[in-house]
């Protein structure tokens, strides 16, 4: 099975506010807030760690969720954010966050 790598785009603004991560895309000014689970995935999206590993090592132990459910939710979340250019997705590790590709719907 192919691995999925995710990296935070360099074209976003982000800040924690009272436990919620606020994110705004410089590309289309879309404004998001992420819940705690999504924040963990976003923070771990270094372009080098496979998404499955992030879910397994960061999300499941911290939030005590079923790994299958967590993986499905993570994939959905990653797809949504990549459509706004906030996360970059690749089947190879991403060294430069400007060079990943966004997923089109």
């Amino acid at each position: 099975m192919k691995e999925t790598y995710v990296a935070r785009s360099s074209a976003i603004a982000a800040r924690m506010l009272g436990g919620e991560m606020m994110i705004m895309s410089a590309m289309d000014s879309t404004f998001f807030t992420l819940n705690e689970v999504a924040t963990v995935i976003w923070q771990a999206a270094d372009g080098q760690t496979p998404l499955a590993e992030i879910v397994e090592k960061k999300v499941c132990p911290e939030f005590e969720v079923d790994s299958e459910v967590a993986r499905r939710d993570a994939e959905q979340f990653v797809t949504e954010l990549s459509q706004h250019g906030i996360l970059l997705v690749s089947d190879h590790p991403i060294d430069d966050p400007r060079k990943g590709k966004t997923v089109s719907s």
């Binding site: 360099s10 800040r15 506010l17 705004m24 410089a26 404004f31 998001f32 807030t33």
Partner: protein, 363 residues
Amino acid sequence: MSLLVEMNEKAQRLGVPLSVHIDVTYRCNERCSHCYLDHDDKGEMTTDEIRNVLDQLAEAGVFFLTFSGGEVFMRRDFLDLVKYARGLLFNVKVKTNGAMIREREAHRLRELGVEQVQISVYSYRPEIHDAITKLPGSLKRTVAAIRFLKSQGLKVTMSNVLMTVNRYDQEGTQALARELGVDYTLDPTVTPKLDGDTSVLALRVNEESLDELFSNPDLVGNVDEYCAPPVAPDEDVMEGVSCSAGHTLCYISPYGDVFPCVQFPLPTGSVRRQKFIDIWRHSPQMQQVRSIRIKDLTVCSSCAHAGSCSRCPGLAYMEGSMLGPSSTDCEKSFHRTGIPTANMLRKGQAAAVGLLVQIQPVA
């Protein structure tokens, strides 16, 4: 409620400065007639000092960061400062006259992920715009900058200040914005200079111009809605605040002085002597601003417009009291709705709108 409004309310509850406006210089290559600044450099913060301030702002939770001036590109390190700010993941907006922006600068701003660039344009005619800026050729350069920025895909807003001298160019200037494919904002507010000089107020447009402005659907959208009589203020309004100054927003001058807002010259501390967060949380002046509710205002608490007025506490402060009315906002509320404000009634200033009709019984 939009997500942004929700976040702003959350920031206010938590005491987080969500937005900071920082002027990196007061120097400018233009000398606009209405400008409130003294353009001499009186000891701007260095690159390292500003970087340090940016670190502190990120730590304090600031999300929206506006770089302005003066003219920001008068600082040779400006793009380095933007790069540093973007590295700290601020949402960066740049206010500029654009005269020093060429393809290279536009490309770099895009590359750095600047969210928006706001450019001042006062007329579509060079003879008017250049006369206001006192820089020959400035309109041509500014329009070229807008084209460079647009070609890079940047979001650009053209910002116009309506004054006596450009009053009749408004429509043409708005048409220029449409032609360039950029957003357009218009503000009829001219403020006193920071040193207290009020001579620039002579540039304010007259009452007829305000009436025309407020009944122009191209500017205000739905005129009936915009000009609707004020709704009687309820308890929520009375417990509310005038604006976000000092609540979720503040201003930092090129010299490191911190104020509740760029339009509110109440000194609250200096980042050259104190930590930003200490000024934000503990400055007595900032706390005073933060403590004021609509119900505390000396005149405005009894005004019919209390719930819908754009009352600026900074302008009120410049007029004499941060608890008092801001006459320029009283005028706007009056000309928008035709209903006199409490301040105008107090001063006996409310002029009749249109002809007075006396109803006579049918003979």
